[in-house]
């Protein structure tokens, strides 16, 4: 029987972040299943809601069917935004603080989780585009396909990279919004209103905003886009961490 009882552990910060990250990956599998579900739903929409038109005369009739895998990508954006907001809510926070955490480790492991989600989301969204082509090929007939049909590997890879980058940005924004709402419930009203009203308004009234937007988004070089997006994402996360560092939990 020792006189001083149990000795104290001195936890390493990054070790804790790693443990929380792995815990979250294991525990949030359900969210990835939801992603699959969302993407399948988007695929079904893509298959049916395509634009089509036709033209011709008595002898010959052309029918154009346009399909796009944009739907899947938009749905994936939506999914990751929702996930990012969700993981800032009280119940998810409580899971962190039931075990060992401080606020920064909780945020960093969340960021790691969202980066993983962005990568997985980007890959699956692009792959579903390929899946779409396969389904169309076999179900709608392979008469005349546009030259865009066969996706070259570089196009696919670039597509994946760009999608991942945009997903990173969207998830960072979602996390930031979630943090704002945790700080004050007022933002539940303000943020949607802000989105609806201001983007439009500012784009018209303040060309600077449009310039910044184009600066970040409208970029031809992948490497440069990557740098811009990563820096912006990191900044947004940094703001979130700073704002949420003094929040009370459980």
């Amino acid at each position: 029987m020792s006189l001083t009882g149990i000795s104290l552990t001195e936890p390493s910060f990054f070790d804790t972040v790693k443990k929380q990250f792995l815990y979250k990956l294991k525990g949030r599998l359900g969210l990835f299943l939801a992603m699959i579900g969302v993407q399948i739903m988007a695929l079904l929409f893509s298959l049916s809601g395509a634009s089509s038109h036709g033209m011709g005369d008595n002898l010959l009739y052309f029918s154009f069917n346009e399909f796009s895998s944009d739907q899947v990508i938009w749905f994936t954006f939506l999914w990751i935004f929702v996930v990012a907001v969700l993981i800032t809510t009280k119940d998810y926070q409580n899971i962190d603080f039931t075990f060992v955490a401080n606020r920064l480790s909780s945020h960093l492991s969340n960021v790691g989780f969202l980066i993983t989600a962005a990568v997985i989301g980007g890959v699956t969204a692009m792959l579903s585009g390929i899946l779409l082509r396969i389904v169309i090929y076999f179900t709608r007939g392979h008469y005349l396909l546009s030259e865009n049909f066969i996706a070259a590997p570089e196009v696919v890879l670039t597509g994946i990279a760009v999608t991942i980058l945009y997903l990173l940005l969207v998830s960072a924004l979602g996390y930031f919004c979630g943090v704002l709402v945790q700080l004050s419930k007022v933002f539940i009203v303000i943020l949607p209103a802000l989105y609806i009203g201001t983007v439009d308004f500012l784009a018209r009234e303040l060309p600077v905003i449009v310039k910044v937007y184009n600066f970040i988004i409208g970029e031809n070089s992948l490497a440069l886009l990557a740098v811009k997006v990563l820096i912006t994402t990191a900044l947004i996360y940094a703001c979130s961490c700073v704002l949420a560092n003094r929040l009370e939990v459980r």
């Binding site: 009882g5 000795s7 552990t9 936890p11 910060f13 294991k26 060992v100 920064l104 009370e248």
Partner: protein
């Protein structure tokens, strides 16, 4: 070393003052019972110690550091209450495995043993458990983690009497083999008083009392006798509780040393002396009405 030390701790939520100017220390390797009526501020105090809430003013030190946002405190402390949350997609045995990763002193053998003893299903999900089973599972995590500071906030909600007894016994036995600092807040003082070393009495956000349990139980006695006798005897005494017994008799609770003095001087005079149960005494010391609920009914 003092594990916990508070100086002038105050906590307000908006306009409500939950804790008011609290000062105390809790030493190493003792079991302290945090007792008080509902709304006294027990959970708030415990959550500030755990680092979940911030003090509004005053100083809090756990392991000599500020516990808020503190990884070292978090790694050496575990907080068990009915608000513990686990990922919905993990089974109970997966949760245990995850806990093992976070806590250095985790004893999987103990966890498994308790798990089997209470007939928990390892493939079950936490949110599907009944309230009592949840409390049992949470308690197992709290014990198996062997954290140097272990805090239980009303850990027995929903547990039936048999399970509660087993919990106290398990807590005591593990404490004997692996001493650590334990704080239990419970409204069932009569059930836990034997395993406590100290009592911390909290009422309306203020610390009323912090003493060893054995001292508390000797602090006051009850006298019962004819009303005139009692009234005369206790005229200028501090009375913690008083009620009428029948038409002519009175039951009153005063300090033991005062009672001994009085009895020495006045003799027994038909008075009977009774011990006061610890939980009753805590109620008397924290209540506002001197006659308790009976005062509503005895209106003569």
């Amino acid at each position: 070393m003092d594990v916990i030390s508070c100086q002038g701790l105050t906590k307000t939520f908006g306009r409500v003052r939950a804790l008011n100017n609290i000062t105390f220390t809790i030493g190493q390797n003792r079991i302290t019972g945090l007792i008080g009526p509902n709304g006294a501020g027990k959970t708030t105090l415990l959550k500030i110690i755990a680092g979940f809430l911030r003090a509004s003013s005053g100083e809090v030190r756990v392991f000599s550091e500020d516990p808020f946002n503190n990884l070292k405190v978090a790694a050496n402390m575990i907080f068990i209450d009915d608000q513990m949350r686990f990922p919905q997609s993990l089974t109970l045995s997966e949760i245990l495995a995850s806990a093992a990763a976070f806590y250095e002193n985790w004893d999987m053998e103990l966890a498994r043993g308790l798990f089997d003893y209470f007939s928990l299903d390892p493939e079950q999900y936490h949110h599907k458990l009944s309230k009592g089973m949840k409390s049992t599972f949470n308690m197992i995590i709290g014990l198996a983690a062997r954290c140097p500071l272990t805090i239980f906030d009303e850990p027995t909600t929903g547990m039936d009497a048999g399970v509660r007894k087993d919990f106290y016994r398990a807590l005591l036995r593990d404490y004997l083999q692996n001493p650590r600092t334990i704080i239990i807040s419970s409204h069932l003082l009569n059930e836990i008083e034997d395993i406590l070393e100290d009592i911390f009495l909290l009422s309306e956000g203020e610390k009323r009392l912090q003493t060893p349990v054995s001292d508390l139980k000797e602090f006051a006695v009850a006298l019962r006798g004819r009303r005139e006798v009692i009234d005369k005897l206790t005229a200028d005494q501090e009375i913690y509780y008083q009620k009428s017994v029948g038409k002519d008799y009175s039951y009153v609770v005063i300090r033991r040393d005062a009672a001994e003095e009085l009895l020495k001087k006045a003799g027994r005079d038909g008075l009977e002396v009774f011990p006061v149960k610890a939980d009753d005494l805590c109620v008397y010391l924290t209540s506002r009405k001197r006659g308790g609920i009976d005062s509503v009914f005895d209106r003569n």
